[in-house]
């Protein structure tokens, strides 16, 4: 046994071994400092007054509804983008048409553009004094910006690429023979999509959808510009946190942050799990 140990440690010469440990530790320490430290700060601040004060902070009506609004707007966005994103990916993979390359490039725009600028753009397009915003308000009596549709719209913009970029490669790598086989068996293309294509891309759809959901939960830059910020109606959790920080209520800000992070972390763990399952199947 002794001999065993000596040999393993000595086997590769010292330098690579040291590099190995050096790399691991610097990476992990860096990650810990950069990520765990803020996590600790938020946890400590959020729980400073004890679990009951934490509970109190997050069950306050304005806090609870802000979390709720964040979740439902993000969820609505996720559902819409899972449908439209999959459709876009499908069109991009299946068809050739003029402007396809342009569309394909344009899809990444939300990744590239500052979200604050997104907010500004949406106000300039849908603001009540603009032709479009004014027309919609006159015709439908519905206000886009400074209201919850504005939040959903900003999130739709933000989350559009996620599902597309997750589904696109899966669709492209789908075995065409499977679809052809289905056609020869007399299946309509809708049936083929539903029974052959859809099950194959569903994990990617969900992964992309959940990622965009998690991303949307924390969104601030565009929301702070387009939302009406009415507590209980159009105030999202990120903006609520901003308000609590501004009014010096750090405990409340941290508590709500913790809840947001827990939701987001659960979501990413779910994504992780789904991705794992997908690779296991492949």
């Amino acid at each position: 046994m002794m001999q065993t140990r000596t040999l393993t440690t000595l086997n590769t010469s010292r330098t690579p071994q040291m590099i190995f440990w050096g790399v691991r530790w610097s990476a992990l320490i860096y990650l810990s400092v950069l990520i765990a430290l803020p996590l600790i700060v938020i946890s400590v601040e959020g729980l400073r007054g004890g679990i009951w004060s934490f509970w109190d902070s997050i069950t306050r009506p304005a806090a609870l509804s802000a979390i709720f609004i964040s979740v439902w707007t993000a969820a609505l966005m996720t559902v819409i983008n899972m449908i439209m994103g999959t459709l876009t990916a499908y069109v991009l993979v299946q068809y050739r048409f003029p402007g396809k390359r342009w569309l394909d490039s344009l899809i990444d725009l939300p990744f590239a553009i500052p979200t604050l600028v997104t907010g500004v753009m949406l106000i300039l397009l849908y603001g009540p004094q603009t032709p479009i915003g004014g027309w919609i308000e006159d015709q439908f009596g519905m206000r886009i910006v400074f209201s919850s549709p504005g939040i959903v719209l900003a999130l739709l913009f933000l989350g559009y690429p996620f599902v597309i970029r997750a589904v696109q490669p899966v669709l492209a790598s789908l075995d065409i023979h499977q679809q052809e086989a289905a056609y020869t068996l007399g299946a309509s293309s809708w049936l083929t999509f539903r029974r052959i294509v859809f099950p194959a891309i569903l994990p990617a759809m969900i992964t992309g959808g959940l990622l965009s959901f998690a991303r949307a939960l924390g969104e601030f830059g565009s929301i702070v510009i387009v939302s009406g910020n009415i507590p209980m109606r159009s105030q999202t959790a990120a903006v609520y946190i901003y308000g609590q920080v501004e009014s010096g209520n750090l405990a409340a800000a941290s508590s709500v942050s913790l809840v947001l992070m827990a939701i987001a972390l659960l979501t990413t763990l779910l994504v992780d799990y789904l991705a794992r399952r997908r690779t296991a199947h492949a």
Partner: protein, 262 residues
């Protein structure tokens, strides 16, 4: 027939969602006339803000590229206790509200903060802004590199080892060329996220004009000052940078059937 309905549907959705807002911004800006726009862009404050944004973004790209590749390496290749936890928290910057990030920096490094004895002034300084920018753009390189790294079989490296190549040489000559496209894509995403950061940088830096004011903070303040032409023109510059980044992304995006660069 259905083909055209689907294409039409997708094009109009993408057009309304993505293109229309861009056009609205550009049209609103162009109403001011080019001279006014040029004057608005070339004010010292605007230039300083753009400069700071670029410096922060470039620094954050450098740090996150090096550390991102390292972290991806450790998360893919090393086995250690708590690996799944680390793997999960990498995405955290993605979802933490940026305002909270800025405020955590102040809680940590502020005057009466937990680590107020820290030798470098981080709260309300460009160094602190860099730190929060690095934080919010951390996941991109890692997430781009990890799957590619995981797909490389160890034999490629082992082959190099048996040919006498050291670990570093193997990394440089064998792994890096394979990883490079995904690293570049990650860099571009990092750049975009860093340039666009607003909430965290504003809180962490204090938004002092010409000192800790980034381009996005400038846009925000210009809107408040009713300096619409200043806000729109810097917004359009940021948008143009975004389009440039977009072109890079499209060029670099790992594509099917083109996995290996020749």
């Amino acid at each position: 027939m259905r083909k055209f309905v689907l294409i039409g549907l997708v094009l109009s959705y993408a057009g309304v969602l993505l293109l229309a807002p861009m056009l609205a911004l550009v049209i609103n800006l162009l109403e001011y006339g080019l001279d006014t726009i040029w004057a608005a862009i070339t004010t010292p404050e605007a230039l300083l803000a753009l400069r700071l944004s670029l410096i922060l973004a470039l620094c954050s790209v450098m740090i996150n590229t090096v550390m991102g590749v390292l972290i991806a390496w450790v998360l893919v290749r090393h086995q250690f206790w708590g690996k799944r936890f680390f793997n999960a928290v990498v995405d955290l910057p993605f979802v933490v509200s940026p305002v909270i990030v800025g405020y955590v920096l102040i809680v940590l490094f502020g005057r009466q903060g937990w680590l107020s004895g820290f030798p470098v002034q981080l709260a309300f300084s460009t160094a602190g802004m860099l730190l929060v920018t690095v934080f919010v753009s951390l996941p991109f390189v890692i997430r781009e590199v990890m799957p590619v790294l995981a797909a490389i079989t160890p034999e490629q490296e082992e082959a190099a080892f048996t040919l006498g190549a050291s670990h570093t040489l193997t990394f440089r000559r064998i792994l890096l060329p394979i990883l490079w496209p995904s690293i570049l894509y990650g860099i571009v995403l990092t750049l975009a996220r860093s340039l666009g950061e607003f909430g965290a940088a504003a809180v962490a830096g204090g938004g002092v004009q010409g000192v800790t004011e980034t381009a996005t903070i400038y846009v925000y303040r210009a809107l408040q000052d009713r300096n619409d032409v200043g806000a729109y023109s810097i917004a359009v510059i940021l948008g143009l940078m975004a389009v440039g980044i977009l072109i890079l992304m499209n060029w670099l995006r790992p594509q099917e059937g083109k996995k290996h660069v020749d």
